[in-house]
Symmetry: C2
């Protein structure tokens, strides 16, 4: 398990979540030399063998996954620093890392990494999460790194308000201004979609479709904005089934309709909250391409304009955090990549 | 499998849903003589044996369940009429019964029963469901019978608007006036609660509690009404987990908090819709006692007053529908029970 790249690296960066682990090997300008995608999320780590020479006794699932992710990279360049973000820093992770209170200066994040010692081997530096204690409490782990990546790469005036959308299992919408995260919201849209589809009557009439039905998605998207949408998502989701019973929505279109319906309720609520605040910030969206396209349709439909799409935010964030923490030297301006 | 009651019956009434079957033996005044509760919902019928004398060949799961529910009652009094409501009349049921379009005169329901012939044995008369085609379509099967029962037993002026709440897996809120069902809404609150608890991250930190934590329920109930509630239920549900992480909500209290949160969003939306309509009708609630108590707290909190509790609505509705359909003679006024 070796990689062919002879280029010298400066950092190993790990995006280590609940269900998967991505490893990046970055050079001295923050450019990605190698990427690996492994299934070893913190809830599904490789199991240490109880005997046999293949696994040194006492090695944890975290160590095993770490070895597969970047053991060879570290043997080739033993002095590379390692930074990691995500649920690896949760109470169920390798080591519990701090939560920083919002509002927070982003620069502080890089000064509060949690160092995991590894018996003299290269330590791992885990990025803290963010916690918001006013109103209903809210937490994030991993998304703070994406926000860091988006904000440090943006060309705009950092004094401007920006709203960063990170759609996924738990969508995060993060308000930032003058290098501070000022507020964030979580929407469990992705996980609720999966639970409704897999474990309620709505899934029973859905038929697997070979391609997306974007017309059904857009039909669902609009529901939150029509008078019947006032009943809220606990009510409108039932229309997925009722439209099927009345012959108005085919089984193959019901999953995309439901996806649109949920994303529509999320973005409609977001738009209402932004209007109450009296400001419509610039919006940046970052995440899986197909999912971002759905959110772009939703943002347009609910009058929030067309957002900018940010890419590679996690590896950019891990890079900038490692620089900010002094794990890697500040690159000279001639090396910097955008 | 015989019952000891020697009293003469006038009707066998079946409440036959997805997950269970209730059978009632009623006398000539509509009083309940016997009740049986069987697990034979239409999605979990008894399986006909493939051979052996115990099961006459060709007998369906519906016939087997029917025999267990009331076979002995019919052998004792072979000429009793039988009426049934609920999902037994769905496409997956014994025989698909009609849907009547809302608005609908309740008296019409009794004139459009679907008759299931049983090879010369006593036929079964299935109550039609209701369908609402304006706005987002909506359907019910079984609840129309409860509405019938509530409205025919009420002492108030039938010209008044009444809103009948039927909390459960799928809560129904049914507007009626002058003997007509004019509108209804469905909220999938109960099923969403079960899916969130059983199949999302929210369930992972919940700890089974021996008793209900009504303080946690009421705390969740209020969320829809505070500023953070504007983000909608897809967002606020995450506070179940976040309050646990911040040490503000014990694992044993999280299920009741989530229950309150969901019911709060349902009733908050209902209250907003009623205020937009400009009228606050009398409210009647009908269903499982403990669940109705939760809804009463919610209705009070969101300014909808204290509803009347209706009991035995299904058997009362089946009785009145059977009278209305001419299956049983109209009782003389001296026999009538309230």
């Amino acid at each position: 398990m070796t990689t062919g790249s002879p280029a010298r690296a400066a950092l190993i960066a790990l995006d280590w979540g609940t269900s998967s682990l991505r490893a990046y090997r970055l050079d001295g300008a923050g450019r990605t030399l190698d990427t690996r995608h492994l299934p070893w999320g913190i809830m599904r780590l490789p199991q240490p063998l109880q005997d046999g020479a293949a696994t040194p006794s006492g090695q944890s699932g975290f160590e095993l996954a770490f070895e597969q992710a970047c053991g060879d990279w570290l043997r080739a360049e033993p002095h590379l620093p390692v930074i990691a973000c995500g649920m690896v820093g949760s109470a169920q992770g390798w080591r519990e890392a701090a939560y920083l209170d919002v509002p927070v200066d982003l620069e502080r994040i890089g000064t509060l990494l949690t160092r995991v010692e590894r018996n003299g081997a290269t330590p791992v530096h885990i990025v803290p999460g963010l916690i918001q204690r006013h109103g209903l409490p809210n937490v994030m782990r991993g998304e703070e790194t994406q926000v860091f990546g988006v904000l440090f790469d943006q060309a705009d005036d950092p004094a401007d308000s920006v709203l960063i959308g990170l759609p996924g299992t738990h969508s995060k919408w993060v308000n930032a201004r003058r290098g501070q995260v000022t507020h964030f919201d979580t929407f469990m849209t992705g996980e609720v979609y999966a639970a409704l589809r897999g474990h309620t009557i709505l899934g029973r009439t859905m038929i697997e479709a070979p391609t997306s039905d974007m017309a059904a998605f857009e039909r669902g998207l609009k529901v939150a904005g029509v008078p019947a949408g006032r009943a809220g998502v606990l009510s409108t989701i039932f229309s997925t089934r009722a439209l099927g019973l009345t012959g108005e929505l085919a089984g193959v279109s019901q999953a995309d309709y439901l996806s649109g319906l949920l994303i529509g309720h999320e973005i409609s609520a977001l738009a209402d909250m932004l209007r109450l605040q009296g400001e419509l910030p610039r919006i940046v969206v970052c995440g899986d391409d197909a999912l971002c396209q759905r959110y772009i349709l939703a943002l347009r439909h609910y009058g929030l304009g067309t957002p900018r799409l940010a890419q590679h935010a996690t590896e950019r964030g891990l890079w900038h955090l490692a620089v900010s923490a002094g794990l890697v030297p500040v690159p000279s301006s001639s090396e910097t990549t955008s």
